[in-house]
Amino acid sequence: MKKKSIYLAVFAVVLVLAGSAGSAWAYFTTYVEAAGTQTISLGDETTVEEEFNSWTKHIVITSDEDSEPVYVRARAYCGSQYELVYTASEKWTPDSDGYYYYSDILNAGEKTSEFIVKIENVPEDVTDASEFNVAVIYETTPVLYDEDGNPYADWNGKLDVTVEKGGNN
């Protein structure tokens, strides 16, 4: 009998709680949502073609078809006994750091105009070009944009590099 009384009391409490639950759920609410994405593409790949004739190097840099746009700069090094003469080009502009900067953005699949370096003061008895050690180096940097969308190059930017021990395909 005692148990029956307890059950009845619990039942009564549940009834009262159920009655008040209705008012708790009665608030007007609604919600709405939306999402969107944009893809980031990074990474560039360029190749250099070099042609040598008449003691002159003709250099053209090509951007890969899948490459992101880049800025390019180049220069040449040689021993002190020779002189390097760069042929002026409207798109290759010298700077005080010794580099020549290509003025255009190099987009995917595009080539630079020729970067021409002539080696002067070559002794007449030298005929083998392989005896010369004239190295041309070039560098690229990804095109960045300011907040207004104007492109610029950051040649002093440093990479935040993580080194993995395993291979990557």
Partner: protein, 253 residues
């Protein structure tokens, strides 16, 4: 006294108490039914304005998603869900890292009752539908505006990935909030994060891969709206957040 005690301990007393409780409940329902009867008997002279809640998310002034309780009050919702960032780029334009793009976001009350609103903004990176937990949401720079004035930042509910904002003003029927964001850009730092791997089979060859290459940045906005009547309890019940509403101005506790 003993008789009373004996009576209180008896099953009869328990039953009587129960019947009394049930009776109280029934009478409260009858009250409602009587009120309904009165209401119906007077429809021929009264106009009834149904209370429908509704909210719309706007992007650059255009409706993106909305969810309004139907004016027929038949238990259905007039709703549509759109896509953010869909018109961010011109036709044929490539996304430019570092450039600020217009991304004006705000909320309109598209229902027929006044309401309080809050917005939860999520920023994260995905690749092929997989969320990238190691990439930084902070590099997705959604510029929040009017925070600290019209919009209140709930610091306790916000993380690098999620930002929760409460609109401090009562939003009337048809009214639009001030903006809570105006531009979006991706920080140029994404172009500096690289990982280098040794190439298998090629001694002394290192492959450098941009960590963010091919990643998608995702922006998600969820808007909640709640009635203005009994707002403090409604917000607590619906959103689980204690707020104070004083003279139609909401503040976080």
């Amino acid at each position: 006294m003993r008789r009373i005690k004996r009576f209180l301990k008896s099953p009869t007393a328990t039953m009587l108490t129960f019947v009394l409780a049930a009776g109280l409940l029934l009478f409260s329902s009858i009250g409602g039914a009587r009120a309904a009867l009165t209401y119906f008997s007077e429809t021929y002279v009264s106009r009834v304005q149904m209370s429908n809640i509704g909210v719309t998310l706007l992007e650059n002034g255009k409706e993106i998603s909305k969810r309004d309780y139907n004016k027929t009050s038949d238990g259905t919702w007039n709703e549509s869900t759109g896509v953010l960032l869909g018109n961010m780029l011109e036709k044929g334009e490539e996304f430019k890292i570092g450039k600020k793009y217009k991304e004006e976001l705000n909320v309109r009350n598209s229902g027929t009752i006044d309401q309080y609103v809050r917005v939860s903004i999520y920023k994260y990176w995905v690749k092929k539908d997989d969320k990238q937990q190691t990439l930084s949401p902070n590099l997705i720079d959604l510029n929040l505006v009017n925070v600290g004035s019209d919009w209140l930042l709930d610091k306790s509910a916000s993380t690098d990935e999620r930002t929760v904002l409460y609109y401090s003003k009562l939003l009337g029927e048809g009214e639009t909030t001030s903006l809570f964001a105006d531009t979006i850009k991706v920080d140029k730092m994404v172009a500096t994060k690289v990982t280098q791997y040794p190439v298998e089979g090629k001694k002394n060859t290192i492959r450098t891969v941009y960590d963010y290459d091919g990643m998608q940045f995702c922006v998600e906005a969820k808007v909640d709206a709640v009635q203005d009547h009994n707002a403090e309890d409604a917000v607590w019940s619906a959103w689980g957040r204690r707020v104070t509403v004083d003279n139609e101005t909401l503040s976080l506790r």
